[in-house]
Amino acid sequence: MTEGTKDLYTGALAVRKRHSFLADLAIRCVKEKPLGTVGGVIVLLLLFIGIFAGWLAPYGYNETFVGGKLEGMSSTFWMGTDNVGRDLLSRIIYGARVSMFVGLGVPTISMIISTTIGLVSGFIGGKTDLIIQRFVDAWVCFPALFIMLTFMALVGSGMVQVILVLGIMGGIGASRLKRSAVLAVKMNLYVEAAKAIGCPTWSILIRHILPNIMATVIITFTMGMGGAILAEASLSFLGYGIPPPVPSWGGMLSGNARRYMIQAPWMAIFPGLALSIVVYGANMFGDALRDLLDPRLRGGIGRYSGGPRKRPDL
């Protein structure tokens, strides 16, 4: 048989686990979720462009071309130029860097915060839950922009500050989603079973509750990506985000692009397009990931299950 690895349990051949977990996930993603694969490629592409922006961009992001203001698409400037004569393609490529950091950093921080609050609040319940939830209620009562601006004014502008502020903001709001997922999961009998076995509370949270709220965690993460990139845009627009001239898609979209909408529509179209593609890709990838990580949705005719599932000869 294939690798001929002796199985730990019986000495029978292991049939299912021939690949490592990640390799298995990748193979199943390609075979079962074509759309999710496209999404994954888009996300990887964003990472690639963000990291290698310096090599990929034809010009510098702040390189102005005298007499090249508001030029349309041409072989020199593939996506045209903006109102001060900078190459739009180069700015979008560099802007991917900001979008990458914001689009991944913010949901990551927000995920950690919201999952922690949600787990503690939902699982412990009682008075702890009551106090935490009233705090969260108060927090979400304030208009988001108001809190954002207050914090940005306190910590100053810059990429790290933007990521932190947006991450904390979103995290506290999203904790309600996590809490409700925890409340639903903790009523399951297998949680009581874990307690009866003698699992310590932290182990129940990590080993039983967390994997079962994974669908919510992943979806809020990918939904958060688009939201974070857009929120950064509105901060940049108000002058509290990433200080110019560093390009960010949001800043490009909402700043001068709006003023020159009629004369130079490419100024808005291309950053908008880049943003939409990345958000779409992230959502598709998230959906696929959620399905692939759920063992209940595994198996079935025409699905990849890591090789033929037949009973080994004992």
Binding site: Y9, Y190, E192, N212
Partner: protein
């Protein structure tokens, strides 16, 4: 405490609060378990029967300290469980385990069968590495499953197989005492017998003590040494298994037994069936006096006023009954 008693329960109360309003005020209590006392001897199986909502399951979980807010004492090998600190109780769980009624909900859908069965070993640090794998494989064989199934997820098993996984999980830590909470009532009749036989086999091999909770008297009859009958949070009768079927004394037990179908039409037609009037009263407002008096066909005035105590009919007979009318 007698030496041969593994579990001793004394005056156990478990009230679940009914709350109302914004401030979650406690307006009433569901008296799920209302002052019960009994013991389980080492190596014996005590059947606990009663209809839905009478507090059987709650009793089982109270013994395992899975609820907060219970009153009374539960002693395991002389150790009072109610006084243990959280961490001490967690270690104590090695000795006492629970088999669940619902084999579908009691297994974590995100864990493989091998992980589920191996978890108790890990939690209590009983085995690791090669030894761990061998023990998990051994547990699979013990419940008559094949160890190669360890990589499968719970949804890939049938109900009976899942229940076997649940049993293996409970036995992984080599407990002395197992609460079987209606382990067969969610299964097909054909599978029920298999599981019961398995449980009996394991009890004899591993020297286990069971508290076997069920609502099916014929199931309990097979597996139990002694049987306790519960009604509305209280034990009404407790005695040897043969005795309770041959000589039931409490009117509720008599009525319950008369409802068991007999697979012989001739006998079935001629025997006396007692059909109880009305429904089980609410455990929030149990009737005064004997809990059973509104439905009892033997009730007299005293039953409405005074709550009967569980008493041994003749000392040493081990036939305990809680009824004013039984002499």
């Amino acid at each position: 405490m007698k030496d041969n008693h593994l579990i001793e329960i004394d005056q156990l109360f478990m009230y679940f609060p009914v709350t109302a309003g914004v401030l979650q005020r406690r307006v009433a209590d569901v008296k799920a378990v209302d002052g019960i006392s009994f013991y389980i001897k080492k190596g014996e199986t005590l059947g606990l029967v009663g209809e839905s909502g009478c507090g059987k399951t709650t009793t089982g979980r109270c013994i395992l300290q899975l609820y907060e807010g219970m009153k009374g004492t539960v002693r395991f090998e002389g150790v009072e469980l109610t006084k243990l600190k959280k961490e001490q109780m967690r270690r104590m769980r090695r000795n006492m385990q629970l088999i669940f009624q619902d084999p579908f909900a009691s297994l974590d859908p995100r864990m493989t069968a091998g992980q589920i069965i191996g978890e108790p070993l890990k939690v209590h640090g009983l085995a690791r590495g090669k030894e761990y794998k061998e023990q998990v494989a051994e547990l699979f064989r013990m419940v008559e499953l094949e160890p190669y199934m360890a990589d499968r997820y719970p949804h890939e098993f049938s109900g009976g197989q899942r229940q076997r996984i649940g049993i293996a999980r409970a036995l992984a830590v080599r407990p002395k005492f197992v609460v079987c909470d209606e382990p067969v009532s969610a299964l097909d009749v054909s599978i029920q017998a298999q599981i019961i036989i398995l449980l009996e086999k394991l009890r004899d091999e591993l020297g286990l003590t069971y508290l076997f909770i069920a609502h099916d008297l014929s199931v309990v009859r097979n597996i139990s040494d002694r049987v306790a009958v519960m009604y509305l949070g209280r034990i009404v009768e407790i005695t040897m298994a043969d005795e309770i079927y041959a000589n039931p004394l409490h009117p509720y037990t008599i009525a319950l037994l008369s409802a068991v179908p007999i697979p012989d039409p001739k006998v079935d037609r001629t025997r006396k069936r007692i059909i109880l009037k009305g429904d089980v009263p609410s455990p929030i407002f149990p009737p005064p006096g004997c809990r059973f008096n509104p439905r009892c066909y033997m009730a007299s005035d005293i039953c409405k006023q005074k709550q009967p105590e569980l008493r041994e009919l003749t000392p040493g007979s081990e036939h305990w009954v809680s009824c004013h009318m039984v002499k």
